[in-house]
Amino acid sequence: MAATMALPARSSAGSRLRRFVFSQEGILLIAIIVLFVAVGAYNQRFLSANNLSTIFLGNAYIAVAAIGMSMVIVSGNIDVSVGSLIGVLATISGTIAVSGLPLWLAWTLPILAGMAISAVSGWLVAYLRVPSIVVTLGMLSILKGGLISVTEGAWINNLPEGYHLAQLRPLGVPMAVWFMIVLTALAAFWMRYSGFGRSIYAVGGNAEAARLAGIDRARTVFIVFVIHGFFAGVAAILFATQLSVIQSTVPPNLELTVITASVVGGVSILGGTGTVIGSTLAAILIAAIGSSLVFINVSPYWLRAVQGLLILLTVLADLARRRKRARHR
């Protein structure tokens, strides 16, 4: 509307900082800091190294899974089977570990399996154009049912020495956290600066316009699902190797927690916008809230309600931002 012939320069550093603070990532970062400071002031044990490492070690795999999920959602799709997938892959990993095969196989084969399974979903979505919600709902039942039938609900214990990758502590920081940080950084960089990353946003933002621009929609979606399978595989390894026992049941509602991290992280459920930095920050925030409930003597069962509240707050914040934008026209 403003009919100014403004000099279209790149925005200044000041306005970029302001934009960051009001972005979803900025808000989440501030929320995390506020939470740690406030709960830490109430109960210092919350900030103890022990507790922090529990929070991060126990939840890093959710952030890792949310990286792949965010890519899927940005591309205009969704995967509701990721919880079952992680359950299956964790069991595969544990089974390999106790079978006496080399440990590196237990750490890598599940990743390949995750990519293969996700490739099947991706192929159906990308090339046969079946809606992803339908494909992955089907996949959810197949994986969950298959897992329980094959394992008959048995737990895997007696995991060999040295299997627990997630618990290693290079430089004193749990390996799971290293994975979370490094993978988030790599994925964020890849999404933002690579040609392929750009095409994910383009396909999710407007598939038809992307196709006319010469971007192969089907190929992009297919590859996104395969990459998502990779992250689900890594998440499964982190999940399996942080505990001394692998329950061969699917962690309940895991897919919802992962999707929540993406959405609260600012990934639009309609596709086309959002970052993996946002989803990782959201995963940290959710984990920290869960832990803080214990420290302020609130039943941890409230965590699910708090997650729901976060989703609604995110949607409201997004709405407010859109309103503000719309009013300028």
């Binding site: 509307m1 403003a2 009919a3 100014t4 012939m5 403004a6 279209p8 320069a9 790149r10 925005s11 600066y193 690579s194 040609g195 392929f196 750009r198 095409s199 946003y201 383009a202 933002g205 407007n206 038809e208 316009a209 992307a210 196709r211 006319l212 621009a213 010469g214 971007i215 192969d216 639009s268 086309g272 916008t273 503000k324 934008r325 009013r327 300028h328 026209r329």
Partner: protein, 505 residues
């Protein structure tokens, strides 16, 4: 008529939004039985004004009167109750529901116990349609199955079902075929005879001269003036809108056609294009005219590989080529600016910078990563070259005005450095200033040796821009004119003559 109390009168309307004064003291009135056109570039405040009239926005200052009595609408419902209805560009209908259900949505006749009286609903819908001389619309037909023209008639019937006395029509012809436009005009005239006051918004000046009694011009939120249509000329209106005299509407240019770069031989696509042939030379602009549904856009989509040809041959530089996808066409140096920039042209949530580079990501990449410096340079250059009005290259394109969005689409395609440019309705729905800028760019490109194929529904644009004019009808190219021999009458005749007439002749 002049003595009649206006149905609706606005005086000194001021409306501001954060950062923008959208209306600065606008006055407007509509009398019973007149068509009052509202004219202005995009961003002139037309949309805001009709939203004030229809109760969507409340004005900050100013008076509104209905039948001489002051009113203050708090909601669209209140405006409707006062007899003011608006038909927006995007029709707001429920595709799954029937015509009758849509017409009486929210105010259906009731039975004694409160249930909906379906017989009444159908009967009254049929009655309203009859009164508009619409006899081919079944009240029970689902709206989703109707053509755009018929859907619009449903919207009009809906307005009348609420006893609207003032009807606001926002660019009603933007998506209509020629035949539907004629019928719409018939309906509008019928409503005018009945004493309805019609506020008519359109970018097509021809329609205003055809239909309107008075015209009011807005510019940058300010009231410029109101005139009886018979007292003004087209150039006068244009200069009122843009605030300057456009002495040359279309850039003058001497064509210097080179060798043939694109040739289509009997290309076809089932149901839309039957054996169409054309040639396109370097350095010329060829206008492709035809009614909507004649296969114009479909032919363009064949040439660009959106819907690959089922038969026929395409040659680029004399070599036969296969174009199976837009990616193929792009590799051959063809670019296509689609008709619908919203659904086909732009990635709306993306920034200008990222939209402009979308078709050349591979060229901009070093290994897997986009060279940001070159991307920014591209965006900066395009924003200057096309005079794209934006706060920065990081602005999200969904927030730009129509004309600026179209420039972004054009910039995206020109970044591929095409030799053949296909433009489908390049200036539809954009303001006069942006339109002139796009025309200027087209002329420059042709002068640099690009072959341009331009589809347009606006005959003045076709005549003003083209070196040659081709006319399509019923899936075939049926006529061709050189610039010297092309006239509006000849082209229109070729567009509309039916196949039977031709055989009889």
């Amino acid at each position: 008529m002049t003595a009649a109390v206006p149905l609706l009168r606005l005086e000194g309307i001021v409306k501001s939004f954060p950062g923008v004064r959208a209306l600065r003291g606008v006055s407007f009135d509509v009398r019973p039985g007149e068509v009052h056109a509202l004219l202005g570039e995009n961003g002139a405040g037309k949309s805001t004004l009709i939203k004030v009239m229809s109760g969507v926005h409340r004005p900050d200052e100013g008076r509104m009167e209905v039948d001489g009595r002051p009113v203050d609408f708090g909601s669209p419902q209140e405006a409707q109750a006062a007899g003011i209805a608006a038909i927006y560009q995007e029709l707001l209908l429920f595709p799954e529901l029937s015509v009758a259900e849509n017409v009486f949505m929210g105010h259906a006749p009731r039975l004694s116990w409160g249930g909906i009286d379906w017989d009444q609903t159908r009967a009254r819908t049929a009655e309203i349609l009859q009164s508009l001389d619409i006899h081919d619309l079944d009240p029970d037909a689902p709206v989703g199955a109707l053509s755009v023209g018929n859907r619009q008639r449903v919207e009009i019937a809906k307005a009348l079902s609420m006893n609207a006395r003032v009807l606001i029509m926002d660019e009603p012809t933007a998506a209509l075929t020629e035949a539907d436009v004629e019928r719409l005009f018939g309906i509008v005239r019928r409503l005018r005879e009945r004493g309805v006051g019609i506020i008519y918004i359109s970018h097509r000046l021809v329609e205003i001269f055809d239909l309107a009694d008075r015209v009011t011009v807005l510019r940058d939120g300010e009231y410029v003036g109101t005139h009886a249509v018979k007292d003004v000329t087209e150039p006068q209106l244009i200069s009122m809108m843009v605030g300057r005299t456009i002495d040359q509407l279309y850039p003058h240019r001497t064509a210097n056609p080179g060798k043939v770069v694109l040739e289509a031989k009997n290309v076809a696509y089932p149901g839309t294009v039957e054996e169409a042939s054309l040639t396109l030379r370097a350095g010329e602009i060829v206008g492709l005219a035809g009614l909507v549904g004649s296969g114009r856009s479909e032919l363009a989509q064949i040439l660009f590989g959106v819907t690959p040809a089922s038969a026929g041959q395409i040659l680029v530089d004399g070599q036969p080529v296969t174009i199976k996808s837009p990616a193929d066409a792009k590799r051959l140096g063809i670019a296509y600016v689609p008709e619908d920039r919203g659904t086909q042209g732009l990635i709306r949530p993306m920034r200008i910078r990222h939209n402009v580079s979308l078709a050349v990501l591979k060229e901009l990449a070093r290994f897997f990563f986009i060279d940001r410096g070159r991307e920014q340079e591209l965006a900066r250059r395009d924003i200057e070259r096309f005079k794209i009005r934006a706060s920065s290259m990081d602005q999200v394109v969904g927030k730009l005005s129509g004309g600026n969005q179209q420039k972004v689409v054009l910039a995206k395609w020109l970044a591929t450095r095409p030799r053949i440019l296909i433009l489908d309705e390049p200036t539809r729905g954009i303001d006069v200033g942006a339109k002139a800028e796009i025309h200027k760019i087209m002329s420059e490109l042709a002068a640099q040796g690009m072959a341009v194929l331009m589809i347009s529904s606006e005959l003045p644009e076709v005549l003003g821009m083209s070196d040659r004019v081709l006319v399509m009808r019923e899936g075939r190219i049926v006529a061709g004119f050189d610039r010297a021999e092309a006239t509006q009458e000849r082209i229109a005749a070729a567009m509309m003559r039916s196949a039977q007439q031709e055989r009889a002749a």
